[in-house]
């Protein structure tokens, strides 16, 4: 089962992962990653909100293609991929990827693969609000290096 969603409102990961897992009787493993708006320490101090924008004609189709690729490459039973757009506060979930498979390695690797692609190769733009103004977040060199691992 493939379930790919773009959401404009806050979501509770457990309410999605529960039914998704239930839908795959006989699975050997399920791996879930949830990314949240970070705050509090170091360079993240002073972040008041985060806003993600997207481009409708490209963003969801690209996520669908990514999901199809992951299902085939890692021999998954199912893949759940959820990404927020719009304004979010510190502590709110931004992204959720959950994979079910007969064996653990496929599930774990699929989530890692999808997250690297969502960070650096999906059509999202992120900016954060600090006391003075909004600031666009530039992709980091690490994000591209993480992505390149999957080309090998």
């Amino acid at each position: 089962m493939k379930d790919v969603r773009l959401l404009t409102e806050e979501f509770i990961p457990g309410t999605l992962v529960g039914p998704f897992t239930q839908a795959h009787p006989g699975l050997g493993g399920v791996c879930t990653f949830v990314g949240e708006v970070r705050g509090g320490e170091g360079q993240d101090m002073g972040v008041e909100a985060l806003e993600l924008s997207h481009y409708e004609p490209l963003t969801l189709p690209t996520m669908e293609t990514l999901a199809d690729t992951a299902i085939e490459r890692f021999d998954l039973m199912g893949l759940l991929m959820v990404h927020r757009v719009g304004k979010m506060r510190v502590g709110e979930p931004i992204v959720l990827v959950s994979a079910t498979a007969r064996h653990r390695r496929g599930a774990i690797d699929a989530v890692d693969f999808c997250m690297d692609h969502l960070k650096a190769a999906a059509w999202f733009w992120k900016r954060e609000k600090r006391a003075d103004a909004w600031h666009w977040i530039e992709p980091r060199a690490d994000d591209y290096a993480d992505l390149a691992r999957w080309d090998k």
């Binding site: 931004i94 190769a121 059509w123 733009w125 666009w136």
Partner: protein, 80 residues
Amino acid sequence: MAVRIIFLGPLADMAGKQSVEADAPLDWAGLLDVVGKEVAAQLGEERVNVAFGGRVLADKTQLRAKDGDEVALLPPVSGG
């Protein structure tokens, strides 16, 4: 009718608007002409992509947009 140009992410701040209309037909030179100096300079960078008809162009300089088309300018992404 015209060609609608959409500025995504930081390019919208740079342009000072979300979108602009240009006369059709629109090619690469016409696009650079209509988006303003700052955005045009960004478009020259390899890491800035152009989408047209829901697809990212392999070679953005080959843009040929007609009446009613939408052209999206896509700066480097940052999701997740």
